[in-house]
């Protein structure tokens, strides 16, 4: 208990120092080593607050419901996180106080969420009932609902791949409907929605490029991805990497890839193939295929290291004990690591020097140096899944 109070004090001190001093030096001195993060503990409905300077846990926050598929976003000042649980729970946690400050169970089944660029609106993507709900980031007051209705019978689709986009917009995809919607939340009580139909069969997840320009949805029901230029939404979605499987029979997919994360490195975007043990490489200038890199299994996360140079990949069951590293210059594998049983997620430090990897069935988070691939340490955690460092607060689509 004593240790917990001490470390909490440190978190608070660091945040207060950054806020009060406001000076670049104070922030930089802190940022050079201290970076705080949150580790989802999947089975116990809790999160650990961690410090990447000491590689230690600061505190644990419990009572967050079903976190079997959980993600979170930071408030724009990184003081709070908004955690999206599978059971429809939206929980606001104060990182400085290490406690829950707000919680609503807003749907029956949720997949994730996003926070508007101005930090005022939190959007949650729901499977049941299919749609998006908007909440006030300060109070968690419910502001509006966008039902994901489609077709003549007014059925509701599961919503996937929600991201924040420049201009206080949210972009998301409708799995059964094969549509991408862009919602302008300038007035969050009356969002204005632009619907793009026929984007492709079964979009399963999506990402926004780090410059906020392009939204890319992966398609499960066909070979290819849907691309929307957010500077010209009225032009609609176009297909990229169409027919990358070339009609060959797909390998079984035991877990859906996750597209959120950095997929862009240098002139390329790196994307998981579906039903093929490959990472697809497209040139961003033309959106044409540049290469396909054979990898260990069905890719789940394909993440470019901040600062460039490398792309890290983890894999679906049953090949989920492995992580591979692609060299961006050579477009080839340079390293294969075995961090532990059931690797679910990876998160880089802000500068990309370290990567934290959750090994769910070993109940630990393993830390590697990304230059030497040396194992730097490990942190105990109960069934860890997502890991999120506070640098995300400033980035679009994270």
């Amino acid at each position: 208990m004593k240790g917990e109070t001490e470390v909490l004090g440190r978190w608070r001190t660091a945040i207060v120092a950054a806020l009060v001093a406001g000076g670049a030096l104070a922030v930089l001195a802190d940022a050079a080593r201290a970076e705080r993060g949150v580790v989802i503990e999947r089975a116990s409905g809790s999160v650990q607050l961690v410090d990447n300077a000491t590689r230690a846990a600061l505190a644990r926050v419990e009572g967050l419901g079903d976190l079997s598929h959980a993600s979170l976003v930071f408030s724009s000042d990184a003081r709070y996180v908004f955690i999206f649980g599978r059971d429809g729970g939206l929980t606001k946690v104060d990182l400085a106080a290490a406690r829950v400050v707000g919680r609503v169970v807003q749907a029956g089944n949720s997949i994730g969420g996003a926070i508007s660029r101005d930090g005022r609106v939190v959007a949650v993507a729901n499977y049941e009932p299919g749609g998006v709900k908007l909440f006030d980031a300060a109070s968690l007051e419910h502001l509006a609902e966008i039902p994901a209705t489609y077709g003549a019978e007014g059925k509701r689709a599961k919503v996937v791949g929600i991201v924040d986009a420049p201009g206080n917009r949210f972009v998301f995809s409708l799995f059964e409907a094969g549509e991408i919607w862009v919602a302008d939340v300038a007035d969050p009580r009356a969002p204005r929605v632009t619907r793009l139909a026929n984007v492709g069969r079964e979009p399963y997840d999506a990402l926004i490029t780090p410059d906020g320009r392009h939204y890319i949805a992966g398609l499960f029901g066909e070979d290819g991805l849907a691309l929307v230029d957010l500077a010209d939404v009225s032009a609609g979605a176009r297909r990229i990497l169409a027919n990358y499987g070339r009609g060959e029979e797909k390998l079984p997919v035991y877990k859906m890839p996750h597209l959120r994360g950095w997929a862009v490195a240098g002139p390329y975007a790196f994307l998981p193939a579906i039903g093929r043990h490959e990472v697809l490489v497209v040139e961003r200038a033309t959106w044409r295929e540049t290469a396909r890199i054979p990898v260990h299994g069905q890719p789940v996360f394909v993440m470019a290291r901040p600062g460039g140079g490398q792309v890290w990949v983890n894999f679906a069951f049953p090949r989920n004990d492995t992580v591979q590293v692609i060299d961006v210059e050579r477009l080839a594998l340079v390293e294969t690591l075995k961090p532990g049983r059931t690797v679910l997620h990876m998160e880089f430090s802000a500068g990309g020097e370290e990567v934290w990897i959750s090994a769910r069935d070993d109940d630990r988070v393993v830390i590697y140096d990304t230059a030497s691939f040396k194992r730097l340490g490990a942190l105990p955690a109960a069934s860890p899944s997502g890991i999120f460092f506070e640098w995300r607060a400033k980035r679009v689509g994270m």
Binding site: A43, R86, Y127, V160, Y204, Y254
Partner: protein
């Protein structure tokens, strides 16, 4: 096409149903624990850790009520072509699958 798939499923279900009825030995305790873990964690990737559904449908007792066990066994072993449900026959035997289906229909696998 749809008709053929249904007929195929029914035929296979009949055959498996017989096999299951004959070889219905429950798996050993260690294996039961592994199977429970597999269902919650890996089936849970799509169906939810608590089996209340995700991109895939719910696998709770209520959701599976009235569904013939034999066809559920076939779905698990062979997957459902044209959907996201993959075949699991490389990881579980027929008898193990029958045990999983029984436990799902009893609602005893989704307890935490």
């Amino acid at each position: 096409m749809a008709t053929r798939r249904i007929l195929g499923t029914v035929a296979a279900a009949g055959w498996l149903g017989a096999a299951v009825a004959v070889g219905g030995e429950p798996p050993a305790a260690v294996r039961q624990a592994e199977l429970t873990h597999l269902v919650r964690q890996d089936c849970g990737s799509c169906h939810g850790l608590t089996l209340k559904g995700g991109l895939g449908p719910a696998l709770t007792r209520e959701a599976l009520r009235g569904k013939p066990a034999a066809s559920l066994v076939v779905t698990i072993l062979q997957g459902r072509p044209g959907t996201a449900m993959p075949p699991w026959r490389d990881f579980v035997t027929e008898a193990e699958t029958a045990w999983i289906v029984r436990k799902l229909q009893e609602g005893t696998l989704d307890e935490r």
